[in-house]
Symmetry: C2
């Protein structure tokens, strides 16, 4: 079986997270991703701890399946070479501060004259337009500004940052969607285009109903802990040995739930019969449930609730996640062998195709590991020509 | 300008969030999305509050740009019609519990015999394979099981659910990527395929470096509040009137930050000179910064820090998000006029194309609003034929 994106060539100038996450997905699905890195320094995230034998776990976890070419875009000969390569690639992705590529003399308006079929994706904190465009941003800042923190946190507690860099990651996902859409469009029009993705915009896009909810009710959404804003019971409960998330999504599940935890007298109780009533009487209902739930362990409740078809799950820490039978069965934990670091576990590919499955067949590259290989393959250079280029100090 | 996905036809059987979020993005980018809904009942989320004049804010916020066709897939005549329509569409998306389409006699193995070019996307809680496959799941449950809750929360506090349904939303984003990838692949192979997306898998995929970090360090990641796991200072600070997120991402920003808040004596202090040292001496450094920050308001600090190029931002609540100048400038808050509910604000489109911009030109549909229109347009039926179909009670 061939891979889904076989033949798609991506020149990847991205660093750290949002951009590299996008190109990782494309590489997982079969695109040929050539990561351009500054000689000797490389992607900033190569320097993020923890390290194993000098190799960054952070870098390794989001750069598998890519090749690395060292190339100094600040030097004249480096730029020249880059412009030659541009002709051979379908996509360029960068996540510099807006204006950086123009300052290098490598802005989209210039690149498209060389390759009009080029898809150019730019991912930045605030986007290439608007009053904040040139400001620096990090994940934590856009999580704060974009509203997500204001609705995350313990009930009555402080706004809380999401524990993974969801600001970067969702920008990476939207960038991937943008690139694939532009490629789809190009297959009919024959023309490339530029796409501009802002982390802050993506944060607004993932608020889903919070904005409509606010404009309709005029109530400012606040952190509500692990409860649902409108469904009851739909929250975490303390068990004998920990916590369990229980999600009684509708009135049918409610009656199964009452049976499961042996509170059948409450099924048709006038205070709890429907979700609307349970919402109104949340304060009365929850202590009644709590009293039952704390009598068994999380695992015991899992078994009982599963038997009754009540959606539930433990709050898994990372050590438990990587051992979960479903997660293992779905190949969502993959071991990659790195020549220096040894075996490292990374998340698998969540897109399961019937005909063209993704594959992880390459660990994260060493800095500049594929410079020679790419020059030979993409530009057809021989060893002598490559040698002479090395003299410019651009690799 | 035409839209990016013009000509792509999507038959959308999805309900509530993960699936509808995916088809919303595709519709925003120009695909023709026909939402199939159960007559009289419709998408479950039509019944989620708050409502305005009987119309759900939740439903309206993620179903713009789609058309609605009422069709009962449990009735024989409904199935027959569906199979006729399948030939005319590029994509089918569903987010039923695994096995539901097979029970209806409309599983992928059958549909592909009718239309081998069909891309079939299935989004579910745990996926179509593995021991948990048939279990029901909700966003809150997969947030708990997938590890994200275990690393989100106040420092030393309890695992915390992300305030938006990030379990559904990331599954929606990966589903969108999968559909576009399958379409790209089909343009070369001529063949469709099935793709199986699990919310739980997607949760593992967005843990980014947490898994690699754990396997390298053997330390179980825990909630760390609004701090960064490895960069200092990179957290929220109390101001005179609220809080501000400050992200001193590297040593260059550190020296600008010290100037900005007037602690220049600390720039080269042996305890704080480098990020590694600042990490070690976090407990000493933070109180020194706090003392300064609480003397000015959030807005005053924003101005100062912006001037010094230090990444920072307020923690915006939703009312502030929809008034933010950058967010408005980027058209990330869009007003949609609904014939019954009136004007409703929804998030804009975070993918900004230079040549084929997305557009929001249709509010969320009424249940079955486009049944006749779709029958005429897609199947070429005339009014008489449609009338006779109505007698089967399938619309």
């Amino acid at each position: 079986m061939s891979s889904a994106l076989e033949g798609v060539r991506i020149l990847d100038l991205t660093r750290v997270l949002a951009g590299p996450y996008a190109t990782m997905i494309l590489a997982d699905l079969g695109a040929d991703v050539v990561k351009i890195e500054m000689p000797e320094i490389g992607d900033d995230s190569r320097h993020f701890g923890p390290h194993i034998k000098g190799e960054s776990a952070y870098f390794m976890s989001i750069n598998r399946n890519k090749r690395s070419m060292a190339l100094n875009l600040k030097k004249e000969e480096g730029k020249k070479l880059f412009l030659k390569m541009i002709k051979k690639f379908d996509v360029v992705v960068e996540n510099f501060r807006p204006g950086t590529m123009e300052k290098l003399g490598l802005g989209y308006d210039m690149l498209k004259t060389i390759n009009p079929k080029l898809v150019y994706a730019a991912t930045s904190g605030y986007g290439h337009t608007g009053p904040y465009s040139k400001r620096p941003a990090y994940d934590a800042v856009v999580q704060a500004m974009g509203g997500l923190m204001s609705i995350t946190g313990e009930l009555g507690g402080k706004p809380t940052r999401v524990g993974s860099s969801i600001g970067d990651i969702t920008a990476g996902l939207f960038t991937t969607i943008a690139i694939l859409t532009a490629l789809t469009n190009r297959s009919t029009t024959g023309k490339g285009q530029k796409v501009d993705i802002a982390m802050l915009d993506c944060k607004v896009a993932i608020l889903e109903n919070a904005i409509a909810r606010f404009t309709v009710s005029n109530e400012i959404p606040k952190p509500i802990g692990n409860k649902h804003s409108a469904i009851v019971p739909f929250e975490t409960f303390e068990t004998k040995d920990g916590e369990i998330m229980i999600a009684v999504g509708n009135d049918v599940i409610w009656s199964r739930f009452c049976e499961a935890i042996n509170i059948t007298e409450l099924v048709d109780d006038d205070r709890f019969r429907t979700n609307v009533l349970r919402n109104e009487n949340h304060g009365i209902l929850i202590p009644l449930i709590l009293k039952k739930i704390k009598n068994k362990t999380t695992e015991e409740w899992q078994n009982v609730l599963d038997n009754f078809g009540v959606p539930n799950g433990p709050i898994n820490t990372i050590d438990k996640v990587i051992k979960d039978p479903q997660i293992i069965d779905r190949e969502m934990i993959v071991e990659v062998e790195h020549p220096i670091a040894g075996i490292v576990k990374v998340p698998g590919i969540p897109i399961k195709f019937s005909e063209t499955p993704g594959e992880i067949n390459r660990c994260a590259p060493l800095l500049g590991e594929h410079t020679r290989e790419v020059l030979k393959e993409v530009l057809g250079y021989d060893e002598n020509r490559i040698k002479s280029l090395f003299e410019y100090g651009i690799f």
